[in-house]
């Protein structure tokens, strides 16, 4: 329970760090270029995320809206934050596009099944070893072959499920969540990645 409690707080913290960097760069109020400035942002974000106000912390309010931030969310948060911290991308825009596409298409089937829009319960297959696990293993092999940088994320799904790092007992909750779906959809459309990725630098 101890580890789960702390792992849950990681994504809210990443999100707040990301928001602070974005506000800084978009408003031109300050640029966090130096290492000490970046460390200060990380610490300030931790305080802002974890210190309770009106009884709950910002992380706990975010977890009230989305009680399970998946490993996919954590990965996307890290991918978006990495260039701001280390001045180089963790994933190429092409790989980011593929990852966002996966984060939109996979939950579309899962959510529509769970919410009763298709008469088959896919979510139930995530509680224990099933054909879906074999399919995910196959997808992981394909990812390793075709998009190697994304393979770390796909390996992290199953590794964190085996270690039960999140509160949900369902494998699908390690792969995706509602917030990740909306965030990835926003990235696909708002950032215009489909148009950009062909001429953006490849990693």
């Amino acid at each position: 329970m101890f580890i789960k409690e702390y792992v849950q707080l990681l994504f809210p913290w990443l999100l707040v760090v990301l928001v602070i960097f974005s506000i800084g760069s978009r408003t031109n109020l300050c640029h966090f270029g130096k290492l000490w400035q970046k460390i200060c942002v990380l610490l300030f974000a931790a305080i802002l995320t974890l210190i309770p106000f009106t009884g709950l912390s910002l992380a706990e309010y975010l977890l009230s809206l989305n009680p399970n931030f998946s490993v996919g969310s954590l990965a996307l948060g890290l991918v978006l934050l990495w260039p701001k911290l280390f001045d180089k991308p963790l994933l190429s825009s092409k790989n980011l596009y593929i990852f966002c596409l996966w984060n939109v298409l996979f939950p579309l089937g899962l959510f529509s099944s769970y919410l009763g829009m298709i008469p088959y319960d896919i979510y139930a297959l995530g509680y224990g070893f099933s054909a879906v696990f074999l399919l995910m293993a196959l997808i992981t092999f394909i990812v390793i072959w075709k998009w190697p940088p994304l393979s770390y994320i796909f390996l992290a799904y199953i590794a964190s499920f085996n270690l039960r790092l999140l509160p949900s007992p369902n494998f699908f909750d390690y792969i995706t969540d509602g917030f990740l779906f909306l965030m990835s959809l926003g990235l696909l459309f708002a950032l215009g990645l489909p148009r950009r990725w062909s001429f953006m630098p490849q990693r």
Binding site: N68, P107, F111, F133, N170
Partner: protein, 385 residues
């Protein structure tokens, strides 16, 4: 990453859940579980028919109460929970509890078991409202309270639980259940569960976000962080608030509130032959239904006893009905309430050592408690015949 290294790593990582599911303690697997409590044992003693009525709480001006749940809480004691506040779904709604002493036949003064503030503090999450609560027994003397918490309306409910190891005197802090991949929406409870082997139990639930359907939660309370899993109970219709009735150690019947709300509707029924893992399609029973909650229980003689609103239009009557043939036919046994314009709803049935207990919402002002024994039911059956 080197591809030659990745291949055995993937195989190893996916072999872990495979090993956990197929080699480590197969008794824990859902298909290997058995229903342990089917019907109470037949009592050959010649008892006098017994029937009594009580009120669990007193009416208070401007306070409505609703959705009671009753369960044994140790020897000669029962616990009843319900929610009360200014109106359904209001922020001042709290979950109350009171205890019934079978020897003295009296109810204790109701106490607030949980309000949104306490729930928020225990869960470390923002909780604006609390709603339906169900209290059930496990097989080790533990009492489990499953309750709904909300940020907005009923479609934003998620489920939480508390456990008491001392017959309801003290309760553990609330724990949240993650039951849905989409913002954990929407799961709610109404009726009691069914005990299984290995200390596990089934809890009927329902979902009402975009579509209305029923689910069943398999909960294994013996472990420190109790593992759980959810299965869909219905795939069509608008069947919610299931009442589970065990038939034997593998077969279950489920009866559903029909929330279609169009014209004359009937209580729906489905069956499972594998301890609730998979379910048949829905069929109508012959019980008329005004889209309201109800409960059912199996009697010692094998018949199913139901407490239902036996009408198409409203909840102005509450009736005990009996099916001797697994829900194929039903007979009216006794009309408990009938007052046009009033509401008698959301019954909850349980059995203590010798008697059956029924609680229900009485005109939205109080929770009424009815006690009867098997001899009283036998007398009614003879009278009906």
């Amino acid at each position: 990453m080197k591809k030659w290294l990745a291949v055995p790593l993937v195989i190893f990582l996916y072999a872990v859940p495979f090993y956990q599911d197929y080699w480590s303690d197969p008794r824990q697997k859902w298909p290997n579980l058995r229903i342990t409590e089917i019907a109470p044992p037949l009592d050959d003693r010649r008892e006098a028919p017994y029937f009594a009525e009580h009120f669990v709480n007193q009416a208070r001006p401007g306070v409505m109460c609703h959705v009671s749940s009753i369960a044994p809480a140790g020897k000669d004691k029962l616990i009843c929970t319900w929610y009360a506040g200014s109106r359904e779904g209001a922020r001042d709604v709290a979950i109350y509890a009171a205890f019934f002493q079978e020897r003295t036949k009296t109810w204790t003064e109701p106490q607030v078991l949980l309000d949104p503030r306490q729930s928020s503090q225990e869960l470390r999450r923002w909780v604006r409202k609390v709603g339906n609560a169900v209290v059930i027994n496990d097989q080790q003397g533990g009492l489990w309270l499953f309750y709904a918490s909300m940020l907005g309306g009923w479609s934003t409910t998620s489920l939480n639980y508390k456990v008491s190891r001392d017959e309801g005197r003290t309760w553990s802090p609330s724990q949240k259940l993650i039951l849905s991949p989409f913002f954990n929406l929407t799961n709610n409870v109404k009726n009691k569960g069914v005990n299984l082997s290995q200390g596990a139990y089934l809890l009927p639930m329902y979902h009402e976000f975009l579509h209305k359907f029923s689910q069943v939660l398999l909960f294994r309370p013996e472990m420190a962080n109790p593992p759980y899993e959810v299965r869909r109970l219905t795939h069509s219709g608008k069947a919610i608030q299931p009442a589970l009735v065990p038939q034997d150690d593998r077969n279950l019947a489920a009866f559903f509130r029909n929330a279609a709300g169009q014209g004359k509707s009937y209580i729906l029924q489905a069956k499972s032959a594998d301890v609730g893992q998979t379910w048949s399609g829905l069929s109508d029973t012959s019980l008329p239904h005004p889209d309201a909650g109800f409960d059912m229980i199996r009697l010692a003689n094998g018949a199913i006893l139901g407490a239902v609103n036996h009408a198409f239009q409203d909840r102005s009557d509450l009736t005990l009905v009996l099916s001797p043939d697994e829900g194929k036919t039903w007979k009216i046994l006794h009309v408990l309430e009938h007052e046009p314009g009033k509401e008698y709803a959301y019954p909850s049935l349980t059995r203590s050592q010798e008697t059956y207990h029924l609680t229900y919402t009485y005109e939205r002002k109080r929770i009424k408690h009815v006690v009867f024994n098997e001899a009283w039911i036998k007398e009614l059956i003879n009278h009906v015949h």
